[in-house]
Every structure is written in C-alpha cells, then in structure tokens.
Amino acid sequence: MAPTERLPRNPLLLALASLMLFACVGGQLFQSEPQGWWAERGPVVPHETFPASCDLCHEPGDWVTLKPDFEFDHEKETGVALEGAHEGAQCLRCHNDRGPVADFAALGCAGCHEDVHEGLQGKRCDTCHDQQKWRVTGMIAEHARTRFPLVGAHAATACRRCHEGIEAGILAPLDVECISCHQADLARAASPNHVANGWTESCDRCHIPTGWNGAAFNHNTFPLTGQHRVTNCAECHVNNVYAGTPRDCVECHRQEYLGTTDPNHIASGFPEDCAQCHTTSGWDGAFFNHSTYPLTGRHATADCAQCHANNVYSGTPRDCVECHRQEYLSTNDPPHVSSGFPETCQQCHNTSSWGDANFDHTFPINSGDHRNFDCMECHQTPSNYLNVSCIHCHDHRQSRMDDKHSDVNNYTWSSPACISCHPDGRADD
C-alpha cells in the first residue's frame, strides 16, 4: 500500500479540502448581523406568557438568580411535560444560547444530548435509556429483539466483554459469529487443539452457549460416556488428529484386546467388537451375552475356565456330560452308569444343584400304594436300576396274580411283564 496519496487525483479529497476551506473562511466572508442566526432578542427562556411581575421568579440584583421557592409547572405553562431527570433539570440546560429550544426538541434526544454512540444507533435513545438515569438496564430484553438473543453464559456476561469500550460509548455493530468474539478462547483450546485441527468456525455445532466444557459440549457422533468422559482427547485423537477417528472400539483398544489373558481374547477367538461384552465403565465386569448357552444356576457364577478349559472358547460343547462326565461316572446315588442312566443330564438335573434331580418316574411312587417306597424296594439290584422287581412283594405273589390274569393271553408272572402291561402301575391298564 502506498504510504501517501497524490492529492490532485483524488476527487473526494479535493471536494473535502474545498469544503474545509469554505467552512474556515465562510464566516468571515458572510459576516452575520449582530444578532446572528438566532434573530430573537431577549432572554433565552421565552417570557412572553410569563407574568409581568419579574420578582415572582427573580431575585433582585440580577436576572440569573431565581428565588429559592421558584416553581414552574412546565406542562401547564408550555404544554410539554418534563419527565424523569428533566423534571429537576435547570432551565438553562435546555433553554440556552444555542437557539429556540423547540428546534432542538424536534430532533428528539439528540437535539440536546450528545450522541456518544456516534450516530450508529439511530435516534431512538429511549430504546435503551430512560429519562431518569443514563444507566442502561433491560438489555436482555432488547437483545431478544436482535439476531443474537442473550442465552446461557451470554446472559450473565458483562456488556463490556462483547462490546469493548461500551463505557466510552463505543457501540459499533458487531459480527455475531462466535469466533469474532472468542478468538482468545479458540487460541487457548489446547485439548484438543482446535486450531491445529482446523476447527476455527461454527463453534455452535459442538458447543451450546452455556460453556465450553462438560454438558455444553456435543460429542454426539461418539457419545462420551463412562471412562471416555474423563479421557484426555489425545488418547483417542492421537497427535491431535481428529478427522477420521475410528468409532470401532478395537481400533483404539487393540492393545488391550491383544494383551488380555483373562480370558485370552485371541486364543478364545473372541470377536473384535468389544461392545458385545464390555461397557465404557471399565474392562472389568464384562458381560458376555451367553445366549447360545444361557448361564443359569451354578453356571452363572462359574469361572469361565471351568467350561472353557485352557481358555479355549471356540468349540465348547453344549452337552452337559461333556463337562460333567466325571460326575456322571462317579455318582453312586444312584450309580448312573450301571443304572443305565442316559447322558442327557438335563433330563433329571437342573443347573442349580445335582441334588435337586427330578427324574420323571412314570411309575407312580409319590402316591398310591408305592408312595414312600425306598428305591431299593423295587430296584433290588443296586448296580442296575433298570432291573425292577414287582413280584417279590406279597401283594404280587404268583397265585394271586395268576388268578387275576386268568383271562389275559400270554400272561406270565414276571416283573418285566408287569411293567410292560402296567407302566404306570394302574390295574386297569
């Protein structure tokens, strides 16, 4: 930029200089009449309608001093009511040598009051000021009439923090882009470094106007919950690179995925979707959705390794006996193997306890004549519960049974035959 301008080539400057010259010498060239531009003589306050008895108002000796008990009903005498501070103002504050007060009053407030805002706010001073005091109140309401209502932290912020120099009357239009006022905040934003990441505008996309941190920050593309809430940004956004930060857990937590031994996720073939088992509250307390094999009863509290031996999680069988074969083989009450019990444990047992076995004994033993029988009374061969004896009981002695079955074809007096025809123990079967 050129340090100086060539004056003759600038028509505006020429016009300005000409006007200045005219203004400076005009007064001499057009010397005014003695009374000047305000031809009216007499006191500065119009006295035409005043009583002719001067001493009603004036002290003797001069025209300047008024009597201490002087009163003047401005509204009654002039039709113009004086309100607020005007009511107690000295007459000469308005009625003075400048000229007829009506000419200035017609201009509104600016006719008498200096426009400290340099014309930038228009002529409606009463938008912000009242007639009692010059101190401004009610700016929250006035701001609500602009494109920038005061919300959040802005409502509790001193005016001067945005309108720099307002105490000196400076009230020029401001741009309301956040960054136009918050450049210092932007520069201070080191975690994350907003400038380095190119976040230099549109603060309102991530922040609400109540503050920069905490709830006022919008991380909704990846909600910051649990441990993420207190995590340093740089832990996820490495090297202050925010663009393209992955949202999959394992992309940030691969080291944990690879390093964990309890259980060993790799060896176990765990998926890389950590969220299947873990929450953001912490790695401990992982909850695996064991829906393929619901963990009920004792299984719910069992250590994983009890089923998933050697941290082998893939291919874990779902049949009970595959884990509980030892119990199946060793139990003596009754001996399952010798008794020919099936290996489908769940037929009799639940996951709460072995002792709560509930065998579906089709032959009634909970009611009727066989109620409260000891097992051995029928299963007289301890090693084989498939052997059942009916005929050893005096109620089923052969002579009696023969008589009862005289009309039954192929009748034989043997326990298997009894069970065959009377599986539920009823006589009429």
Binding site: D62, E114, K133, A144, R145
Partner: protein
Amino acid sequence: MALGLASTTGWAASAAAGVDAELDASASVQVDFRVISAPVVSGGSTLVRIDRGASAGLAPGDRVTFRPLGGSPVQGVVQTVEERESVVDVAQATDQLMPGVPGEVAVPASRLPGGEDPQPTDQGDYPPIEWTSDEVEWTEGTPLLAEARVLEREERPPVWRGRVYMTSDLIHDGVGAGRDDLFSRLGMDARGTNLFGFGGEFRIDGEVNMRDTQVADGQGEQDTLARLDRFSYALGGVRGEPRRIEVGRFLPREFPELGLLDGAEVSWRTGAGHSVGASIGYLPSNDRERSTGDTLQISSWGTLMVDEDQRFQLGAALQKTWHMGEADRQLFLARLRWSPNGPWSAFATAWVDFYDSNDPLKQDSVELTQAIASLSRRIGKYSGVSLSSSMNRYPSLLRNGIQDLGSSIITDGSNRRVSLSGWTRLSDVDRINVRADQWADQSSSGAGGEFGWGHQLDGPRIQRINTSVFYREGRFGAVKGLRTGIGGPLSGGSWRADLDAGLFGQARFDGSQADLFQGALSLGWDGIIGADWLLSLTTAYRFGDEQDAVSLGFLLQRSF
C-alpha cells in the same frame, strides 16, 4: 402570588386615583380600594387573560385599565375570575394587548386578603428590589423597541454544570467452576461556561474504570484504566456568534458520525439554519483506552435546511483518514432529518466508503457500509406506528475495529434489519404495543415478534403491570418467552420487579441439551436522594438450565 400583590399595592393606589404623584402608604390606606397590577398573560382582540384572580381580590365586573407601551389606555371589564387569573372583556377590539402589557384594576380593600387594611407584610424574607441593570448602548441594527437586552455569555459569571457519578456492577456466575466479574466506574462530566471571560464553554468528561474478573482456572483479569472522553474548549455557535470553533478532545456537534476527535473543528451557521464545518485532528482508538496519535483525519460537512421552519434538514460529510501514515478511510456521510410539527417524522443516515486500488479486500469499489432509517407517524395523542430499518457491512480499514474480524467477514459480512412497530391506548389505563421484524445476515435470516400489554393502577405501591410475549429466530437458534413486570412508587423513588423467561433451542446442535430454559428475575429502585443526588439500585438472579448467576449494581450520581 401574594408577593405580587404586596409589591404593587403601594404604587398601584396612586394609579387608581389618577394621580401621578407618589402617595405614601398612609395615604393609600385611607382610600376604600386598592389598585393592583394585572398584566396581560395571553392576548386577544376582545378577550384577554390577566395575571390576577380571586386570590388578589378580583371579581366579575371590576374595571381594568391596560396601558400598552406607546399606545392609548384600553378599558376592559372582568368577565370571569379564576384563582390566579381572570378573563377581561375589552370593549373595543384591539391588537395591542400582547402578553406582558401592564394592566391595573381597582379592588375594594375589603376583598383583599387580610381584611380592610392589608399591610405589605408579604414582602416577607425578600429585601426590596433594587434593579441595577446598566443602560443598554444602542448600536446600529438593534431594534429601537427591543426587549430587555440579555447578557451575552462573556458577560455572565462563570458557571459549572455537570455531574459526578459512581457505578458498579458485580456478577457472580455459579455455573461450572464459577466466575466473578466486578466492574466499577468513577467519573465526571462537567461543562464550565465563560470560565475565561470569552464566553466559551469548557468541557471535561472522564472516567476511571476498574475491572476485576475472577475465574476458577486463574485466568482472571484485573486492571484500572483512566480515560478522558472529552476535554475541549468551544467558542461561538450560539446566538450572536454563528461561527464556532472547538479544540481539544470532543465529539463533532453537528456530525457525531465522524467520530471522537482530538483536534479542532470550525463551523459556521447561517440565519436560515444552513451550516458548514470542517475539522482536522486525530481519531482516538476505537477501544476503551481511546489512545491517540495513530489515525489522522480531515473532514468537512454541510447541512441544508430545506424548509423555513427548520424542521427538514439534509446533511453530508466527507472524511479522509490516514492510519500510521498510510491512506485509510474515505467516507461519505449523508443524513436526513425531518421532524415537522405534524404527525410524521423521518430520520436516515448512510455511511458510504470509497475504496481505491490499494485496498486488499475491497479495491476500487464503493460500498454502502451502514445505513439507518426510520419513519414514524403518530396517530392521535396515544397511538402511533414506526417503521425502521438498518443495515451494516464491515469496512476494510487499517484502523483497528472493535473486533478482529476475519477477511471473509469483512468481505461478505452484513446484517440487515427491518421492523414495524405500533402502539395504542385501549383505555385510560390500558396500552398495547406490537412489533414484528425480520433480519438477514451473510449466513442466515430470521424473524421475530412481540406483543405487549401495559396496565396502570392506582395502588399506593403498584402502579403499573407490563406483560409481553415474544418469539425470535436468532442466528443460532430460536427463543420464545414471556416478560412481565410491576412497579410503582417507593420511598421517594420508584421500584420495579421484572421476570423474563424463555425457552431457547439451539439450531445446529443435535445434543439432548440443545433446548435450554432460562429466566431472569430482577429488582430495581431509582430515586432522588437529597437535592441533587440520584441513586439507582439493581439486582438480578438468572436461573434455568446451565444458568445460575446473581448480579448486583448501583449508580450514585450528584448533579451540579
């Protein structure tokens, strides 16, 4: 009014008797009536109003003699009597009975306050008047029948007028880590007239500002700054002296749009109200420090009164600035003021910047940087409508602005507003107002509206109730809310309580906390304490989502 009676009785008695010789007080009381002075207050051809009434003993039928200066006496008869004034029927129509014309009326002594023998005791605390006005030297051009010569400024005693004040505001924001902000101002604004015997006016206006901001992270700030806003001496610009010069730090009187100036301005005004002026000097910095010496300006301006009543004024100004030695702003200002006695009024100002090829952002262009316009019309005594509009762009300047704006904002930034408002009185105690407006800037636009109702009461403590509802689409969201307030007299002043509550929704923020309910409850009292002291107290509590702040403030001012 009793004072006027007492001071006139003595010599008025002689006039009633038609005798020019002086009569002493003892002679006057021997007469059965008194003649008192009754000057004309308002004139007419056949009916005039005089400055005496029943309190001075007048009654319908009393004869009044007017003695217009340079004319023959005019007779009249009192027609109606009020407490302090009377209406007199003048037998012969005349145009000589202008306000101030002396009049005399004979009043029976028995009607006078105090009975038959009123004594001039009402002279009271005041000594006899001894007027000591000097003879006025007549010069060519002075009307022969001029009214009393007024003292010119340079003949008057020096007078100081102004105010000293202190104001302080404390805001405690309890959100988050918390913040306390204290801002105090101690200042004086005074004008001294004819301090040096030249009839000029000396102006001084300055403040000391104290800031103290405390925040939890230790990044608070404290500073104290003394600032001089005005320090100038002006001569002329008053009647008798149409030329005016002002030097020092001042705001140009006719064109404040040119900005605060450290320099000098000369101006000249014609009898018809036209004026021209020019100034040279430095523009103080556009910040709270108002430091000077960086930006030099020269400017010139002129105003033109379009009508004889001097109610329609057009004005224009040119300003050229250099910042740190480099050419900076070329500004053209145009202004219109129209405030006739009728119901209409209009006002408009435009700032136009000229950019040359050296400007990095707006080279070789002419831009309307800012404009303000309003048009108002009163409808009857209690109604009116107003249309106002404004726009602004951001000038490309070397001189620092309030904000450190980016080049894109300077190039493309703008803001336009237009609003229409109206008000009317529904009854003696009810008033409504309505407002609708629209705005648009470089990125978005919005609209808003407000409807308000005000009611006056006769209660001893509550004399007004105001309520309004509003809606606003702002730059970053929309707010809808309610304001209500009450107020009235209290302890020699007036108190007020206001509640402002709104629901704000942030536009581009998609979090669950995008909707905020916020409110403010404020209390205040303003009053005159003592003869010249003004005290204003305010307090407010801001509450709602993510908001918890208390503010306290006061203004103490003494006028002199």
